[in-house]
Symmetry: C2
Subunit: 209 residues, 2 copies
């Protein structure tokens, strides 16, 4: 369990990050669970406490763990935004990067719509229709439903991250425009890809190309 003494070039704190990942995986730890204390990690891994802390602080900044003074360190729900606001202030001034975020988010939303078409689950679409007719909802909430319906966990993860970025960019948020969402859902139920795309483009105010 101890960290190899042979860490040529590699840094101890990175080794610790790895070990933590393994530890989480092996013990099947999930958000909310407690991980060993800093001092215990020192002993188990045969490293200094400062190195352990460097690893933990880095993971904390990433939003992957959460520390509570006097209590301990806990695994956090990944989808929290911590890193996002940070990157927002730090990184994403780059216009090209901004553009990439927007572009990627939209394209993945389109992919999810296509996936839903492919899955062709009428019952779920029916429920979606009932939902949009009965509730108030934001653009985010609508597309969360969409991405969930697409039933691809990777897309769900990626989209969540992109959406957080998007928020961090402080771009003008879509205001709710029910008819567009309705027409998307209707097109989905119709099963015609071209209609779905057209409805989506209208919502996003993009040219259909």
């Amino acid at each position: 369990m101890s960290i190899e003494p042979v860490e040529r070039g590699s840094k101890v704190y990175l080794e610790i990050v790895k070990q933590l990942r393994n530890m989480i995986e092996q013990d099947g730890l999930t958000p909310g669970d407690k991980i060993p204390s800093e001092r215990e990690l020192c002993e188990r891994l045969n490293v200094g406490r400062s190195s352990v802390r460097e690893a933990l602080r880095a993971l904390e900044l990433l939003g992957l763990i959460e520390t509570r003074r006097g209590e301990g360190t806990f695994i956090r729900d990944f989808r929290s935004n911590q890193l996002v606001q940070l990157l927002g202030t730090f990184v994403l001034q780059d216009t090209k990067a901004k553009q990439d975020v927007i572009e990627t988010k939209y394209l993945i939303e389109l992919d999810c719509l296509r996936l839903i078409l492919r899955r062709n689950n009428e019952k779920q679409l029916e429920e979606l229709k009932d939902w949009i007719e009965s509730c108030e909802f934001t653009d985010d909430q609508f597309f969360i439903k969409i991405v969930e319906l697409a039933d691809n966990h990777l897309f769900y993860r990626i989209w969540s991250i992109l959406n957080d970025y998007y928020d961090a960019l402080k771009l003008p948020k879509m205001e709710r425009k029910d008819p567009f969402y309705s027409s998307i859902v209707q097109a989905l139920r119709g099963g015609n890809e071209a209609d779905v795309l057209r409805a989506y483009y209208s919502l996003r105010k993009l040219s259909n190309d």
Copy 2:
């Protein structure tokens, strides 16, 4: 310049992250530039070196800075940040769903093809045509070119990760089938999306649906 002694609840290392951000902004530092040494930061900010290091290590893990032993700490090109990579390794650990990996990889490849169509850069497509006619190449190599041409850095990162996972899944690798690649490129040059999709589906042996 010193850190407020009133950091109720706030953690010193987070304060330092903030200060670094300001410092970078004010001094107009750009990728490649050197930031003050750890010991100098201690003095300027009136904090312990360990706290400074916690901040720097966190930023390093985020890929925002780069440290070289014996030289110093430098600002890094954000665009190549390993954030997605990192989240990937943490997030994907439980999501080995083969199907998702394959599906996502293919859909992103399709998105990239669409992006290329949209960019409509004839010269680059010309070069691509020359390349496939003059070289031996693998499926990976071909799509690396494609993803690069799509000119969306996020997609590039995501695709790279997915490709790694794809490899890890030990799925049967595509053997090289020149005519398929040729027809994709030709369709791209023709500018007709339907043709491109058809060519891609043929390569991947998917139903056109």
